[in-house]
């Protein structure tokens, strides 16, 4: 009897299962098409992917998902938006690999379409799906992602890898000043204020706030201002210093390309708005003369300034930017030496030496937990519940990244002061780190970096002028917090793009080729013979043979090019003759600047050479591109214009 009841119950419930009813509805929705394709009720659908450990039955209800004609059908029958299924075929990737959720379920609720508390795999929101992209796409900037790429770049910029083991991040990327000789650089007042709240001095500080007590600040100040590995400072005759000349030099050298002043300028180096309150005049002078002596890993080039220029520049920085920020507080009393030992203890406990080198300390602490499986962390709900936040792993990570003290008051991790959107991006990047990695054939990675160390005379100049702080060669070079190098000009084939004469001229006296560009190359005062050496090396070694092609220059071709130039409205962005726009480079005299083969290749495939460029791909044919290049390169230089700044 019991058996009979069970069987009847089973038949009835199975017959009226959600997915079965939906299949009937789908069949009645578009009888002709559905019958043709699925044969009416198609039965339970299943995609089985053993290597991804997935069994997805989503297509039992999402019957129109691969049928583009159903783009406006009611859910759950609507076609997948965009072209995603062309690159991620459902039979190869399933559905839950990207969307999350419970693939084996055959009911709306069971599939976890909406988050169910404590459910390990709820379906991901559109933004959180990027974390799932990142589990297979291990590149630093996976294509088409926004939050994920930004989160990974932020993690690299904030040196997460110094304390945590993070897959895909390398300790060689850690960047922070070494602290030897700090007593000769900063006054106690500055160090106290900085340790108390780094962002009160530098609003864009990469260092977090360690939430130190007054006593901790005192102790650390005492410890750090002890003489550690001091290098003697250079001395200048300050009575002869001319801050005004220093100011002119500051502007002419384009220091603002890397340093922010009063809220404007680059972010490659620290803002200089209050640098006079931080660094002593003698230290600034010594630093400008040779930054590499103090910080061998610094991004700052060793400008070729005379001693007088370095002195004037230091005097300008000290006087012009000498005031501390308004709410920056720290007493100037010498710290009590008796606290130094305690300070040393804090320095060790908080893992300061993970980022900052200091004489007598190992270079890496790794005091934080490994993050390789953080996307599968089991969490304790109490801290979130107390804050009225839904207990989910994404929320927990978001709260922790926003302020570690909100999850655990005694946390050792500093508060990085991320904005909400930044914390959200880092959360997405963290959630992409899963215990179970996708099998190798399913993952994509950045090509392994080939260590590139330029050799010889060229190498010495590249290191002195820190070319690779902004440019890249074979993928080597500094990457900013946006995930891209500062300069969009890679040097890999620069010798086939620009003429040797122009390279030499530009390196010696850089000027704004693209007039609208903010980050212009600084005036490094490269010596003429150094510029010649660099140009010679670049035009013989940094070349791409495929670009070395001549362009016909006969009058008929040039005339055809002129006609194309006008038809395509190139004048909207480029100056040619006396008229034109201020977007791309001026084209007058470009024959002296550009190699013809490059001009053609650029016009044919701008996106290939510089993804995201403002030069549109017009789909030109090769003869068209050649004619256009021939015309552009024939434009004579304007007489009045010299190399400006």
């Amino acid at each position: 009897m019991a058996l009979a009841v069970t069987i009847v119950w089973a038949v009835v419930t199975e017959g009226r299962a959600e997915w079965r009813l939906l299949q009937h509805r789908y069949a009645s929705l578009e009888p002709r098409e559905a019958a043709g394709e699925e044969g009416g009720a198609a039965g339970l659908q299943q995609i089985w992917l053993p290597d991804l450990d997935r069994v997805d039955r989503c297509t039992s209800c999402h019957l129109g998902i691969s049928t583009p004609e159903h783009q406006d059908a009611p859910q759950p029958f609507r076609a997948h938006p965009g072209r995603w299924l062309e690159i991620h075929r459902p039979d190869r990737y399933g559905c839950t690999s990207c969307h999350g959720g419970q693939g084996e379920a055959t009911t709306y609720r069971g599939a976890a379409h909406r988050p169910i508390p404590y459910w390990p795999e709820p379906m991901a929101s559109r933004e959180l799906m990027e974390a799932r992209c990142g589990t297979c796409h291990r590149e630093r900037r996976p294509k088409g992602t926004d939050w994920l790429a930004r989160g990974r770049a932020l993690m690299a910029d904030r040196n997460c890898v110094a304390c945590h083991e993070v897959p895909g991040h390398d300790v060689a990327e850690v960047r922070a000043p070494r602290l030897d000789g700090l007593a000769l650089k900063v006054p106690p007042s500055w160090l106290r204020g900085w340790l108390k709240k780094p962002k009160s001095y530098l609003p864009k500080s990469r260092m977090g706030d360690f939430r130190l007590s007054e006593r901790d600040v005192e102790a650390l100040t005492a410890f750090l201002l002890q003489p550690h590995g001091q290098l003697p400072l250079d001395r200048a005759d300050w009575s002869k210093a001319d801050p005004e000349k220093g100011g002119e030099l500051f502007r002419a050298s384009r220091c603002v390309t890397c340093h922010e002043v009063n809220g404007r300028g680059g972010t490659l180096g620290p803002a200089l708005t209050h640098v006079g309150a931080k660094a002593s005049r003698d230290w600034l002078y010594s630093w400008i003369r040779d930054p590499h002596r103090f910080q061998p890993k610094t991004l700052m080039p060793r400008f070729r300034f005379t001693d007088e220029q370095a002195r004037d520049l230091a005097a300008y920085l000290s006087s012009e930017f000498g005031d501390p920020p308004r709410d920056f507080v720290g007493s100037d009393a010498p710290p009590s030496a008796s606290l130094a030992k305690e300070g040393r203890g804090i320095y060790e406990k908080r893992g300061c030496y993970s980022c900052h080198e200091l004489e007598g300390f190992p270079s890496l602490a790794r005091i934080g937990p490994k993050l390789g499986a953080i996307g599968d962390r089991v969490l304790e709900p109490a801290p979130l519940a107390a804050r009225g936040i839904e207990t989910t792993l994404p929320n927990w990570l978001f709260t922790k990244v926003s302020g570690p003290e909100r999850v655990l008051e005694s946390a050792r991790m500093p508060t990085f002061g991320f904005g909400e959107d930044e914390a959200a991006a880092v959360t997405v990047a963290l959630l992409s780190l899963r215990a179970r990695e996708a099998p190798p054939g399913r993952t994509t990675r950045d090509p392994a970096p080939v260590p590139y160390e330029p050799q010889g005379e060229f190498g010495a100049l590249v290191r002195r002028y820190r070319c690779l702080s902004c440019h890249t060669i074979r993928g080597s070079g500094h990457v900013t917090a946006t995930g891209a190098p500062l300069s969009t000009v890679a040097l890999d084939r620069i010798g086939s793009q620009l003429t040797r004469a122009h390279l030499e001229h530009f390196i010696a006296r850089p000027y704004g080729v693209r007039v609208g560009l903010q980050e212009r190359m600084p005036h490094l005062n490269v010596l003429p013979e150094e510029a010649r050496t660099l140009a010679q090396y670049l035009s013989t070694v940094m070349v791409d043979d495929a670009l070395e092609k001549a362009v016909p220059t006969d009058p008929a071709t040039v005339a055809r090019g002129k006609e194309l130039f006008e038809r395509h409205g190139c004048i909207a962005c480029h100056i040619a003759g006396e008229k034109g726009g201020y977007v791309g480079p001026e084209l007058n005299g470009s024959g002296a600047r550009l190699e013809p083969g490059w001009a053609v290749a650029w016009l044919l495939e701008p996106e290939r050479w510089k993804p995201g460029t403002l030069e549109p791909d017009r789909g030109l044919t090769r003869p068209e591109a050649e004619a256009l290049a021939a015309y552009v390169l024939s434009l004579p230089a304007r007489k009045a214009k010299g190399p400006g700044r």
Partner: protein, 161 residues
């Protein structure tokens, strides 16, 4: 149980001695039972951070692309005030005023094929090949939001919140 805790308990105050404890107990039991299925109510802090900018995801992507490729001439919000706008004759239009008159498929034609493709000046170049169809869709989604007159856009933003 202290007296003060019950005083705030609402309806139970008017009931007799016998039921004074019964109702809160029942409510508590129900709450505990419900707790087995539902987490304590709370806000989704992360999702709130994602949605801060009041644009939908495709619109936000579209705006990023617009800022990168179009804003030099069209201005950051499409008001025709980009830094290169004054060099152009005809100058770029203010989308808030004029775009509503342009049908969506013509907008797509202009983005993909340039203004010359619809018989106008060649100053706005073709972006179809550089962007690809998905990015063009995103830009169109943003343009739709940007082309509404200001009050309407405000109302839209308010509704989303």
């Amino acid at each position: 149980m202290r007296d003060g805790e019950l005083r705030g308990g609402g309806p139970s105050r008017r009931r007799g001695e016998g039921t004074r404890l019964l109702l809160p107990t029942a409510v508590a039991t129900l709450l505990i039972a419900a707790g087995c299925h539902k987490a304590p109510p709370g806000k989704d802090a992360l999702q709130a951070a994602f949605r801060d900018d009041a644009l939908s995801a495709p619109q936000a992507l579209g705006h990023r692309i617009f800022l990168q490729r179009c804003a030099t001439c069209h201005g950051p919000q499409g008001r025709g005030d980009g830094q290169n706008a004054y060099n152009l004759q005809p100058s770029p239009p203010d989308f808030q005023e004029s775009l509503a008159r342009v049908p969506v498929d013509e907008r797509r034609r202009i983005i993909e094929g340039g203004t010359a493709s619809v018989g106008r000046s060649p100053l706005c170049p073709p972006w179809g090949r550089s962007l690809g169809p998905d990015d063009v869709d995103a830009v169109l989604a943003w343009l739709d939001a940007a082309s509404r007159p200001a009050p309407q856009a405000e109302a839209l933003r308010a509704r989303r919140r």
